[in-house]
Amino acid sequence: MFTESYLQLLLLSQVIPIFYEPKWTFPMESAVTPACSTGELTCVSYLFVGGMDAITPYPNRDDPKFPNKNDTPGADSLAVFGERGLQIDFWDLIGESINTSSCQTWATQSGSHAIILCIQPSSIGGNNLIACNQLSSNFI
């Protein structure tokens, strides 16, 4: 459906701004993970929603078939009711270790650069994941 080069371009352009994207990232004042609310963990949390351009029909579309800017000149905002989002809580890794069998390595053909990414379920349980990564240039 999407080529590898398209997905690579998406990765390169979206990793940097993903926490600071004003169109669909909302920093949360409090996390919902139970261990965060008890003070056991220091957490940061973000809510990610779709953004206006993920709504169909596109609300700012200039099309007489749909309400548009010309119909509502004084309305400078769009209120969306019941928009589904994804809240992600992050915390520092404390007292847990990563099993190396959870890791995957990607390396350049010359071996000059590599990235190792490890992801595994947390021993805290539930829907928690723990992860770590290691990067290496001059990997040889």
Partner: protein, 165 residues
Amino acid sequence: MALWTRTANTVYSRSSENLMNATALSSPSPQVIAPRDLLYTFNATIGPTNSSADNSIIFLNTLFDQFIASGDDISGAQNYLRQLLTFPIVWFQPNGFANPAADVPDPPLPPSLEVTAAFAASARRSVITARMAISYTCLAAGIFLWCVINSRLLWGRRGGLPETS
């Protein structure tokens, strides 16, 4: 990290399309993602292991250096990992690649993603927290009582009548 799905009433600016507020958040529902699914999306994005995905790998190394150079070593490295992990979770959603030119959702979406929306005019207003309202009321009541008590004491010392000549 932990993932939760929840709904909210969101408000966007129509000019900048920026998300201005999210209120009336629903109770969170745990979202379970298997580590292998996340790794699968990285395989699709970076390239399968041992394939020629050199550009992505070199870029991710360069990006890591930028995060480290940006300031605090720990938060820089942590933010790099967190943003890297967030990318597939956010983008590989049913509406992650929606077609904005379509009249109806393309591809079709589940009913749980249907929303209602309304155009609105925004207005600025000040909102204080409940704690501040209670603190202010208690402080104002305390000052008022202090004034009343002191005036009564002064009134008593002077015999209840003002001095006249």
